[in-house]
Amino acid sequence: MTTLSPVSTSPNKRLLVTLAVVVIAWLAAYNIVQPLADWISYSALGLARDSRLGESVAFFLYDVPKILLLLSGMVFAISIVRTFFSPERTRALLGGKREGVGNVFAALLGIVTPFCSCSAVPLFIGFVESGIPLGVTFSFLIAAPTINEVAIILLFGLFGWKVAALYITSGLTVAIVAGFIIGRLKMEGYVEDFVWKIHRTVDVTEEKLTWVHRIERAWESVKEIVGKVWLYVVVGIAVGAGIHGYVPEDALASILGKQVWWSVPAAVLIGIPLYSNAAGIVPIVGTLIEKGASVGTALAFMMSVIGLSLPEAVILKRVLKMPLLVTFFAVIAVAIILTGYLFNLVL
């Protein structure tokens, strides 16, 4: 980041105390969610424990507060980490890396660098113009939106660390492979000409952040992110809870199961025009898995919805000529399909 903001001098004691109180309150709340949800569903509302409605309601009442708590807590923690990885620093870390190693680094940094699709263009230009290879830049641009914190936290909260780890692994694989292939295709000529002609007139210095700044920034992003996605979470979990209670296990095995060879490409194709943030899609995707969809197919669908979005294509159109834009999307789509097959094969 490029600010020269006023440095508040003394470590702010009040802020630290507030932080401690918030952490304790968070832990307490997190631990009473389950008993509270059970009590409301089965005692206060008097629903039968093994009824479909009872199960769905308890599932919903437990998951919504749990996920929102997890989301706030972990977005806060991740945002603190991210204050150490500004786009400028990431660019410096990637400078001088060759293709291959560079693609791996770029994909990994894509996870921790703060990213918003509205900044895709300045990032792209900043990377390319500083001499980072096109393919490496794309590895970053694929990883950053696809493997985002909301997706990881929701997968972790709703389905456990294994599914979350799988998603990260598949996202990284797609970003590295697709970026590498695009790099090999030598399509530099299809980047809009003005990108190569930009002259930097101003030099920026990196700002010095104190811990108080980091905490304040993290709190700001909690408010922003949770404020933006909470409704999607609630609706997504409601749909998920409905499927959980009413759709029989293995109902989807015949359409989205492993043995159906066309299910992966079909899932990716359906996912491209659908545009949702992670918050809305994760609870639904997870429930699909629960009902017999194979993991590879479900993750491919999710990556396609989050990673291949038309709004992003429109934004990138400003710097990429059509052939490169189409190649970019096609290569990612193919990489997602292959990853889906791979997971269906090994899991």
Binding site: M1, L4, R91, P114, S119, I198
Partner: protein, 83 residues
């Protein structure tokens, strides 16, 4: 007289930053011209990698976020002192 530029291609955050900046300027009652810079070649001349960016008298004071009213006020005060 300050020249304040808001760098951003027109995303929601950029519009919000412009609004906050205008609010600060009018509350402080300083003479300032607030300009929106929306073309990428012009934005990138300031060497920022995330939008929205805020530039006061050709100096980048923040990028990639919306600073608070208090922060922008400090930026303006500093710029007035430097001028």
């Amino acid at each position: 007289m300050l020249t304040i530029k808001v760098l951003g291609s027109g995303c929601a955050n950029c519009k919000k930053l412009e609004a906050v900046t205008r609010q600060v300027v009018s509350e402080m009652d300083v003479e300032a011209e607030v300009i929106k810079v929306t073309e990428y070649p012009d934005i990138m001349a300031y060497n920022i990698m995330s939008t929205p960016g805020l530039v006061i008298n050709e100096k980048v004071v923040s990028s990639g976020r919306i600073p608070s009213v208090a922060e922008i006020t400090t930026f303006v005060v500093n710029a007035l002192e430097a001028a």
